[in-house]
């Protein structure tokens, strides 16, 4: 059986890639994908630990977070589409109206 440590390292790597993506990219779609990467990295570690402990709670939580992620994608994409229609761009740095 693959040791849990491997899954955790993979999860950490995926999470880091996602984090760097969110922080460095300006395209809303790419940022969105990066966020999905982070979420799934966490899901991976949840499932891994669940398996190690022989407890289904972590897997249930992973399903739960998938559902939430799906709902979030629906709302997020709708907003992105709406912004694109209005401004013909999805550069998040241009959307900085809510500030001082």
């Amino acid at each position: 059986m693959v040791p849990t440590g491997y899954f955790v390292v993979l999860s950490a790597v995926l999470f880091s890639i996602g984090t760097i993506g969110v922080l460095t990219r300006r395209n809303a779609l790419i940022m969105f994908m990066s966020v999905e990467l982070q979420l799934n990295a966490v899901n991976l570690s949840l499932v891994a630990f669940s398996r190690q402990l022989g407890n289904l709670d972590g897997q249930v939580l992973a399903f739960f977070s998938m559902v939430v992620a799906a709902a979030e994608v629906v709302v997020g994409l709708a907003i992105i589409v709406s912004i694109f229609r209005r401004r013909a761009t999805i550069n998040v740095d241009d959307e900085s109206l809510l500030r001082w």
Binding site: T19, V22, L23, M31, V92, S96, L98, R99, W100
Partner: protein, 625 residues
């Protein structure tokens, strides 16, 4: 009846409440309701008095416990009513004369647009005055003390549409407040030294003996400061003549018979605290006020102001007597004065009623033909005050002069006798200018209705006859019935031996009274006074302005007070207090101006902040585990 003594203050309070909330519906009945309440109180008081007299003289004091007001730790402040000779004397005056004045007011205030409110205030006043004299501790007394001040303010300013009335009300309230401040400091000192406000503890000779003379002098003088304000003694007397802006029954009830005598009551009640030094201060302040106000009264042309100065002067006599330690004499003077001064004020009101509210005596004269009842009762009251035997004033004033002489205070006795001369002179002057001489009024004078004249007649009988309770073998004496009755609360006064014999003093004071009346008669029944006034116009102005005391205050204390108020209003309040408040606002805005810059609007900045926060939390968890 002593068990039901709580009814005495409760009835007027009930009347005040009913008149306040349902007065409009009651219409003219509100006046009778108010009168009935006070008459009811009077009946209970009479019953209690009879019961008290029935007790052996050592047990003539009862304390009726109503409820506990404040209980904090070991300190307990109870609402207790004290029933003894002194408080009953005051209660009889307040409810007895009060009910006559209430009845009279039914006629006097007839047709006033705030008729029921007037009676509501009047009943409330009676309630507070009863609380003042019935309280068994200084704090309950203080509640009444402030309450009567409030009612005085409300009633002086009853016709507040008139600017002068509104101003007089404010002046009365603020001036008495100066005295009240001293009173409050005195109460604080009493609590600091005795740990309680209860009369039985504080006014116990055993307890007061443990304090040094200096402490007692300070406490008693602070209390007397309150008395100076409330009883309008020099130098806080200036509010009383102005208080005549109120309706005349108010002047009679509050500013002659009851409230202004509260100071005398205080001195007599708290006499255990007064040392010989402070009694001397009381005596001198009283005598000076008596003399000063008697001269001022000579210069007044307004009938009510003349009576107001006369009240000041008579109150001064009471303090003079109390200062000599003759508390029974001071209290008898209070009772007699309540009768004849209320009588004179109400008769003056009757004159005003018949003359379209004219108060200037220069526009009166010869009124006795048109208002025979009013004239007769006024003359009885005035003669009583002048000290003509056997009317009550004689029995009040003669012992005061006699004690001054017997105790070897010859100089003060002379001043007091001179004051008695002025007293008889100015009060006769009021009679002659109002009821005798040439008719100077073009108005059609008429006698007042029965509802007004009947109380006057009752008061006149009292003013004439009440003296019999203060004599011993037909000679005025502190050892009369009244003195014996009061001894249980005020202590026994031993009249000093010495000075002139009794008959010589009586002869002297009667001679003084008649000389003054004759002098006034020869001047004021003819037109001689007009010529005299032209010749001595400077003196006339000096007396009419009562030694320019008001003007002096307006030149000194009023600008100083205004300057101080301006400093505190604009310097301290606007500058300092508002500065703090505005400073807090400015600092908050400054912080916000810098702090809001972190809200950049860039999503990625926020994300970085998240990351940083998570990193910090993780670092903490790692370090701590």
């Amino acid at each position: 009846m002593i068990d039901y003594i709580w009814l005495v203050p409760a009835l007027p309070l009930l009347g005040a409440a009913i008149n306040l909330f349902f007065g409009k519906k009651l219409g003219k009945w509100s006046g009778w309701l108010a009168s009935l309440m006070v008459i009811g109180s009077f009946a209970v008081t009479v019953g209690a008095t009879l019961e008290l007299i029935g007790l052996p003289s050592g047990e003539r004091a009862a304390v009726v416990h109503l409820w506990d007001w404040i209980t904090v730790g070991g300190f307990n402040l109870a609402i207790d009513l004290r029933v003894d000779a002194l408080s009953l004397t005051m209660m009889l005056v307040i409810t007895g004369i009060g009910s006559l004045i209430h009845i009279y007011s039914n006629g006097y205030m007839h047709g006033d647009e705030r008729f029921s409110r007037f009676f509501s205030y009047l009943n409330l006043f009676v309630f507070f005055m009863l609380v003042l004299v019935m309280g068994q501790n200084f704090l309950v007394m203080f509640v009444g003390w402030e309450g009567v001040g409030l009612c005085s303010y409300l009633l002086i300013g009853f016709w507040f549409e008139k600017k002068s009335a509104a101003n007089a009300a404010k002046k009365a309230f603020i001036t008495t407040r100066v005295g009240d401040t001293f009173f409050m400091i005195g109460l604080g000192m009493i609590f600091a030294w005795f740990g309680t406000f209860d009369f039985d503890t504080v006014l116990n000779g055993h307890n007061t003996a443990m304090l040094s003379d200096g402490t007692l002098t300070i406490i008693s003088l602070l209390l007397f400061g309150g008395a100076i304000g409330k009883s309008a003694q020099v130098p806080l007397h200036v509010w009383l003549p102005d208080a005549m802006e109120g309706p005349t029954p108010v002047s009679a009830l509050i500013h002659a018979a009851t409230m202004v005598t509260a100071g005398v009551y205080l001195v007599v009640r708290a006499n255990a605290l007064f040392t010989s030094t402070s009694l001397n201060v009381v005596m001198l302040v009283g005598l000076f006020t008596a003399f000063y106000a008697a001269t001022g009264a000579i210069g007044q042309d307004d009938i009510k102001r003349a009576l107001a100065y006369s009240t000041l002067s008579q109150l001064g006599y009471m303090f003079f007597a109390a200062g000599m330690g003759a508390y029974e004499v001071a209290m008898f003077m209070l009772v007699a004065h309540a009768f004849y001064k209320a009588l004179m004020f109400l008769s003056a009101g009757s004159v005003m009623h018949g003359l379209d509210n004219e108060t200037d005596m220069k526009a009166m004269g010869g009124l006795r033909k048109y208002m025979p009842v009013t004239a007769t009762v006024f003359i009885i009251g005035a003669m009583a005050q002048a000290g003509v035997p056997p009317l009550s004033g004689f029995f009040a004033k003669d012992p005061i002069l006699a004690i001054a002489n017997h105790s070897g205070r010859t100089g003060l006795w002379l001043i007091a006798s001179l004051t008695a001369f002025f007293t008889a002179f100015y009060i006769s002057r009021v009679i002659f200018m109002t009821f005798f001489g040439k008719e100077r009024s073009d108005k059609h004078a008429h006698e007042s209705p029965k509802v007004m004249t009947l109380p006057l007649v009752v008061l006149a009988i009292g003013a004439a006859g009440i003296g019999f309770i203060a004599m011993k073998g037909f000679i005025p004496s502190p050892e009369g019935t009244f003195g014996r009755f009061l001894e249980s609360s005020s202590g026994v006064f031993v009249e000093p031996e010495g000075g002139l014999p009794e008959w010589a003093l009586i002869l002297a004071s009667v001679a003084v009274a008649f000389a003054a009346i004759f002098a006034a008669w020869s001047i004021y029944t003819t037109d001689r006074w007009v010529k005299l006034r032209e010749r001595f116009s400077g003196l006339q102005t000096f007396l009419a302005n009562a030694w320019f005391w008001n003007a002096a205050y307006e030149k000194t204390i009023v600008p100083a007070g205004r300057g101080l108020a301006t400093f505190f209003a604009f310097g301290v309040d606007k500058g300092f207090i508002d500065g703090i408040v505005n400073g807090v606002g400015t600092v908050t805005r400054g912080i916000a101006a810098g702090g809001r810059r972190i809200q950049t609007g860039y999503v990625r900045t926020y994300a970085a902040a998240f990351l940083f926060g998570v990193a910090v939390v993780l670092a903490v968890l790692v370090v701590r585990s």
